[in-house]
Structures are given as C-alpha cells and as structure tokens.
C-alpha cells in the first residue's frame, strides 16, 4: 500500500477543485479579518497549476510538487503564495526522484513541509494562521501512522485534526498576518488560510485513502 504518482496528481487536482468550490467562501472569510482576496488568490494559483499537470506525465512526485510550488509562487502573491509555495516545494524536496512513497514517507514529507511553512512565516500555533490547521494535521497523521492505524483511518484522523484546528482559530486573536492588525476585533472569525489548509488536508485524504 503506497501513494502513487497518479494519486499525487489526484491530490493536487482535488485541492484545486476544493479551492474552486470554496473560492467565494474563502474570500468572504478574508473580507471579515483580511482584505477579501484569499479565495481569489488561491483560485488564480491552482487554476494556473492544472494545465501544467498534463506535461508532467511520466515524471515523479517530486516534479509534480515542485511544479505546483513554482506555479503558486509565481501566480498567487500575497502571503498565501509564498507559504503554500514553500509547502509544496518542501514536499517536492522530500520526495526527490520518487514515483511512489509509503504512508510513513508521506507523513515525514508533510512534517517537513509544515516545518518549512513555519520557518518561512515565523508563525507559531494559535497565531490564527494556516499553521493552526496544518500542524495538528501533521501531528495526527504521524501518531496514527506510527501506531500502525490503517492509512485510510490515519488520513481521516489527520483531516479531522485539521478541521478542528481550523475551527479553533475562531476565538483566537490573530498575531500574524493581516488579521493581527485588527487586534481584538479578529476574534470570533475563522481564519481563511486555516480553512484553505483544511481543504488541502482533506484533498490528501480523498486522494490517498483510495485503496486504504
């Protein structure tokens, strides 16, 4: 039981589909505590990624993730562009030359990717950012995989952790990103980036749990 290149493509395509579906929702969340463009930004980026996937056929997971990263970096802008770009870039580095990886390797790649995003954005847990969804997701996946939980269930646990982390951003007062300018007024609103991160973790579950 492993994650194939095709599943990697399904993951990226699934994330793009989820963003397209939730574009206005993400922008709405960003208009409450940001500048009303998160959905627009992510949509622009992922729509730029899709047409490139075809030409990647026959390459490996690393190429897939790196191409996704470079495309996001050069089309999204904003805070989310470099951050999601960094996340996929690290996934690419962690899967160098591999056309399929094991659940353990995916968990390690995700750990490294989340670490890279934290380093790039200098955000901690509870700063009310995408980290609040990504870190719990990576932690839950690691534990479950280590405990030998079936991969499908591990991915589900990871997704649930991301969702809970996303919901947990609602009461938080933002310390990073635009929302931090609002001070106390940022409390009571769900962080848009944490929401798109949950969509990413969910897309991974949907793509990888296939044969679980």
């Amino acid at each position: 039981m492993a994650i194939s290149y095709e599943q990697g493509v399904a993951f990226v395509e699934g994330f793009a589909a989820a963003i397209a579906e939730n574009k206005d929702y993400l922008t709405q969340l960003d208009s409450e505590i940001g500048d009303a463009d998160h959905g627009i930004n992510m949509q622009r980026g992922m729509q730029a990624v899709l047409p490139k996937l075809g030409s990647l056929a026959g390459t490996d997971l690393s190429q897939l993730f790196k191409t996704t990263a470079m495309t996001l970096i050069s089309t999204v802008g904003g805070a989310s562009g470099p951050l999601y770009g960094t996340l996929f870039l690290q996934l690419g580095t962690a899967t160098a030359g591999r056309s399929e990886i094991s659940p353990q390797e995916w968990s390690q790649a995700l750990d490294a990717a989340v670490q890279a995003v934290r380093a790039r954005g200098r955000a901690e847990l509870e700063d009310k950012t995408m980290i609040d969804a990504l870190q719990p997701a990576a932690d839950a996946l690691r534990t479950a995989v280590q405990d030998g939980v079936p991969f499908g269930d591990a991915l589900t646990a990871s997704e649930r952790a991301a969702e809970q982390g996303m919901q947990a951003t609602i009461p938080l007062v933002a310390r990073k990103g635009r929302a931090s300018y609002l001070g106390g007024r940022s409390a009571g609103h769900q962080d848009p980036g944490a929401t798109s991160s949950w969509l990413l973790v969910r897309a991974a579950r949907q793509a990888f749990a296939g044969d679980a």
Binding site: S31, D35, A36, D37, I40, T75, G78, K176, Y181
Partner: protein, 333 residues
Amino acid sequence: MKKLINSVEDVVKEELEGVAAAHSDLVKVHFVPNYVFRSDAPVSGKTAIVSGGGSGHEPMHGGFVGLGMLDAACPGEVFTSPTPDQILEATKAVDGGAGVLHLVKNYTGDILNFEMAADLARAEGIEVEAVVINDDVAVQDSLYTAGRRGVGTTVLAEKICGAAAEARRPLKEVAEICRRVNANGRSMGMALTSCTVPAAGKPTFELGEQEMEIGIGIHGEPGRERRALATADEIVEMLARPIVDDLPYRRGDSVLAFVNSMGGTPLIELYIVYRALTRLLDGVGVKIERNLIGPYITSLEMAGCSITLLKLDDELTRLWDAPVNTPGLRWGI
C-alpha cells in the same frame, strides 16, 4: 459594483497599458511579469530602488517611478503582494551595478515575496538591501505579532531615498536614510466608506450612515475600531494625537505633514482636515516645514483620509526638495 472597468480580470493589465500609453516619456511597462520601470533604466552607477505591493493604491507605486524617485515598481493584483519573479525581473532590469534597495511595506505577503526575490537576486550576484516601512500607529507593535503596517511614510521614503540615489549615494547610505525616514515617520488613517475589490464584487465591509472606521490600513480592511461619525476636527484629533504621542513629536520639532485621501475623498475635504491639523500641531509647538496634500496612497475608491508626520532634519528636507519627475509627483524640473 460601479467602476470604470471592462472586466475584473483585466483591471491591473489594462491600467498598466493606460500608464504605458500615458507616460512613455517617463516610464516603460513590462508585462508578464508585470513591472513599471524608468525608461532610462538601468542608470549605471546609481543605486536602484524597487518597490511594489498590491494594486489599488495608485498613484503608489507605479506613479512614483521616474527621475528622483523609484527605478521600478511591481504591481500585484488588487491588494495582493506581487510575486517573487516580478520583483526579481524588475530588480535585474534596473540594477545599474550599484545595487538595489527593496523598499517594502510591512505586510506578511510583501515581506515574504520580496524576501524570496532578494534571495534569488543575490543568487544572481546582485547586491540587494531591503528596508521595511512600518509606520502605522493604529497597530500596537510587538515582537510576537506581524507588527505595524507600512502606510503613508512609504510615499515619503520613496521620494527621499529616490533623491539620495539620484545624488549617487551608495546603497548602504540610501538604505540608512530609508531607515531614518521610517524611524521618524508615523501615520494613522480612517474610513468613511469601505471599498470594493473588483474580483470580490462587493464592499469589503459595511458601514452605517453614522459610522466610521478609525485605524484602517490601505487594503479596504476594517480598522482598529468602529466609531460614531464625527467632525473633521474631532477626526484629526483621533488620528494626529496618537501620532504625535507615539514618536513622540516634541515642541520645536519640524515636520512634513502629509494629508492623504483614501481615494474617494475630494480635495475640498482634505484642506479642512489640513486646517485642523495645523491647529493641533500649533498647540503642541510642532512646526510644519513641508506638506503634501492629495490622493497619493489610496484604497481604491474608499472615502476617508490618513495623516502622516515625518520629523525633518536638514538632510531629509534637502532630499525632499530635490527635483522629482514622475507621473504622480513632480517638481523642480
């Protein structure tokens, strides 16, 4: 949404085409990646200055490209930071061999994209210094947060550093002057109305007929607090007092007073605001040596204003007075 546009996707592209057509004597525009640059760039031996940020703040930054100000500006989508490749290409296009100053407003997106671009430029052997403007007193500063936004002082820094670069001051000194401007500049803004991001199609927030937002930034986001509508004099008190107390500006100080429209507020109101500001500053014994009044750093069509004070010394005053010739700011030539 009522705007003079053709399609929400083409706003930035068509605006840049208009700029290119209107000001071909001063600037050129490169498309994909998008950046506006001095038509005589690269100016060999001159420190180059590159700024950028989301679109929607016109004339900043593209309107400040030209002699005595910026060498290049990188416009992102509306209210969205530009991408590293835009910044990298602009940096390469204007480097005259004396290095490039990245003049960055303190927003996570701007910081991250300029950081990535600087890394890539340095990897190509270009000397890059980055200075971050963070002058918005509406935001409490702290080590644990993103810190203060970069707002009005950015315009003044671009003019003053541009003059220093034009005078062939080396990169390190231009960067030093930029830090000095940032250290001596403070701003605060307010909104009477929200604004509409074209791609979003509706106002970012709703404000009642009797409400206003105090402590806003320049991205149509709500401010520090919502208050009951007040008179111009009261509003100036709410904006200028925190500014004066923050640096603080002291009796005897000379300042440049910058009264800015957020885009939808006309000049007649700005002068009423400026009048109130002169009275407040008289009261604390601060002397206005220079001023700038108009829409220079805007949030699309938002109605409202911001006030910026910059404490002047002889060098900064000289650099402010030096000739500038850009689409958005011109004197002495």
